[in-house]
Amino acid sequence: MKAPGMAAGRAGAALLLAFILTAALAGVIAPHDPWERMDPYARPGGDHWLGTNDLGQDILSELIHGARVSLLVGFGSALLATGIGVLIGLLAGYFRGTLDEFLMGVTDVVLMIPRIPLIIILAAFLRPGFWLIALVIGCLWWTSTARVVRSRTLQVREMEFVRGARCLGFSHAHILASDVLPQILPVVLPKFMLTIASAMISEASLSFLGLGDPSMKSWGMMLNVAFTRGGFINEMWWWFLPPGLCITLAAGAVVLLGFSLEKEPAPDIEIGE
């Protein structure tokens, strides 16, 4: 299968930008306050473009505000996860030896933890909140990034210019920040994007299962409402289709962008200058 090229990447970026703007300007764009109760069970049309739910809350407004939560949780947890992953991968790959073995051992243990069940258990004991979800996702989703960063660090470490820098006496911190990190970023960026997508979908799944934060309106919560409060049964598609579509599109946009960032090195012809 041919990998998506620049055009797909740009499409993804544009779509993502649209979602981000929507989330940022939610207060301005949304026609109503998503918490305000008006006519319940209204069909799409007129004042309510996507109708209303059983409490009379405007679904379109919910959708727009929901973008905020979903994107925040997605970005926030991905940022945390990627940060942890890069740190662990760098340290393991650069210093090797005992530190490497220890860190990889930790990675293996974390990989064994079943993630969704853990969140479910945590949610059962603690008050569910979307910060908690973001934190837990961030603390569990870093393993794949750590592995990839470690591999790349191992490679970069052996490159002559890095060896040369060690030879000249630059400190480890300097070499890591100045020589190794820039070589790692092209690998980290796509992974970051994919983690965002994964985090968004995880949050949606958890919210759908009722483990999310009921005080925040995320797309997943909207699906939960549709499921538990009669949207599915009554075939009121405007309750569940829009949020479902948004989740898919947002995750898809991020993934397209991520794939297009996995650049292939272009073949070079020797044209000496």
């Binding site: 002559e160 210019f161 040369g164 030879c167 000249l168 006496g169 100045s178 000496g272």
Partner: protein, 236 residues
Amino acid sequence: MYSGKLTVENIVKRYPAPRRGDPPAVILDGISLDLGRGETLGIMGKSGEGKTTLGLIASGLESPSSGRVTYRGRSLREMDGKRRREFRRRVQMVFQNPEASLHPARTVERALCEVLDLMGVSRSERPRKAVEALGTAGLSEEYLCRLPRQLSGGQNQRVALARALLVDPEFLVLDEPAAALDISERARLLHLLLRLQEQRSLGYLFISHDSAAVRFLSHRSVRLESGRLLERESAD
């Protein structure tokens, strides 16, 4: 008597076997050498025989499985932080692949100024010293703003050499420095190395499979085969 001497004693380097149950691969099996300032020791041998590993161990970039590296009579392992940093400066390495010797996204000027910064040279002094450094390697000022990919292999090697010289080393471990270069660039690099040795009393560990280059540059040479040193010959 030991001042300024770099030695390796009984160096053994093992790598774990690729498959379980196989014995570990012994790349270096008890190598001992010594090198003084102002002289060149050539290390010959076929590709893949461990010459590069020996070079990395001698310059402190890799640790041997057993054996020791000494500088000025002190073993590297026993050195404290200060002495170790001193060692790092005094023993520099020049690598084989010219394209990879320099950071690909940094200009020549930045690569040199980085090192000058490390040496504590003031910001105002740096441009002048950078030009000076290029001059010792036979490159004019106009190369300051170039990127490694805009330079030929020989020019890249010379910039890498200029950089290594900035920290005022006593020994250079040269790992096939001219292998990837064209004829005229190789000639130029070898002559430059010779001149620098005379001017600065540098000791060279010259690793190469090119016997003619080794003869040209070395006072003594040895051959590395199957992890052992075969013969010591003086190239007179």
